[in-house]
């Protein structure tokens, strides 16, 4: 493929805007604790509340990262295999608590193309997830941009 030929195929274009299957997940105390340890969390009040399983205590947004396996990225047809995360945008609208039952709906929001740059000819694929809790309140909207590229990364 020549470098000026678009990487966006008709199948890829047709997938833009597609919503995936909703998944349900519970904010799990043990996973949140493991995550807090990996991040060397030093907020003693927060650690005590989570260790005690206090479901009324608002926990950090990063606790949503424990739901990553349910926050599946939709498959994008024909996307180059090499990929790295390029950007993340979290919009947080309500508190998150241990035990919250969240519904996550994924969507392929947008695809942009870039010729040149650090990784050569590449695609910026924007994925979006909407998190809604058991009270049907939207708690967060997460947008991730993944760069898909054909050349090896320069490491820079």
């Amino acid at each position: 493929m020549s470098d000026d030929e678009s990487l966006i195929t008709p199948a890829m274009e047709a997938a833009i805007g597609r919503e995936g299957e909703a998944r349900e997940v519970t904010v799990d105390k043990e996973l949140v604790l493991r995550l807090m340890r990996a991040l060397d969390e030093d907020d003693e009040e927060l650690l005590s509340a989570v260790e005690a399983g206090d479901a009324s205590y608002p926990i950090p947004t990063y606790a949503l990262l424990t739901t990553s396996t349910s926050q599946r990225q939709l498959d994008v047809p024909d996307a180059p295999e090499r990929a790295l995360m390029a950007a993340d945008a979290w919009e947080v609208k309500a508190d998150i608590h241990l035990g919250d039952k969240l519904t996550i709906v994924p969507r392929l929001a947008e695809i942009q193309e870039r010729i040149g740059g650090r990784v050569g000819h590449s695609l910026f694929i924007h994925h979006e997830w909407v998190y809604t809790n058991q009270d049907e309140v939207e708690v967060a909207r997460v947008r991730r941009t993944v760069t898909h590229f054909q050349s090896r990364h320069t490491g820079e």
Binding site: L39, D40, P60, L84, V92, G155
Partner: protein, 138 residues
């Protein structure tokens, strides 16, 4: 100590802090989040397949560090927006410097809010993450 809204104005710099994520921490993070990308833990895959200098720190782990950094400075006030651009990979066991600066303090819809520029620099002084955040005060 957490900042009050009245302490902040455009240009207020937050103190920097340093984090050095070890391979064990990255393993713990991947385990807690179910993130199994081989570029995070497999040196051969990272170097040979991806062309990276070595296994890298997951982007969302750096997001966790920035979330912690903001909570350290803004206490229980809510981080309502956290936006990150990953500009360069960070490798394990390398010191990262985290910092931030207020870009705007304002009231909107009867709520007091502060916008910030936030970042992570690698040991060479290159910016590996450039981001923005909004804090909404109670």
């Amino acid at each position: 100590m957490a900042y009050d809204y009245d302490d902040l104005q455009e240009g207020t710099e937050l103190p920097t802090e340093h984090r050095t994520p070890t391979t064990a921490q990255v393993e713990g993070f991947c385990n807690a989040t179910g993130n199994a990308g081989p570029q995070f833990l497999d040196p051969e895959f990272a170097k040979d397949k991806m062309g990276l200098p070595g296994p890298i720190v997951p982007g969302n782990m750096k997001q966790g560090f920035l979330d912690q950094y903001l909570r350290r400075h803004f206490g229980r006030n809510q981080i309502t927006r956290l936006q990150l651009n990953h500009r360069r990979p960070d490798v394990h066991n390398a010191e990262m410097t985290i910092g931030g600066e207020v870009t705007r303090a304002y009231e909107a819809d009867g709520r007091r809010m502060v916008d910030l520029e936030i970042h992570i620099d690698n040991p060479q002084g290159d910016r590996s993450v450039r981001g923005a955040a909004t804090i909404t005060f109670d």
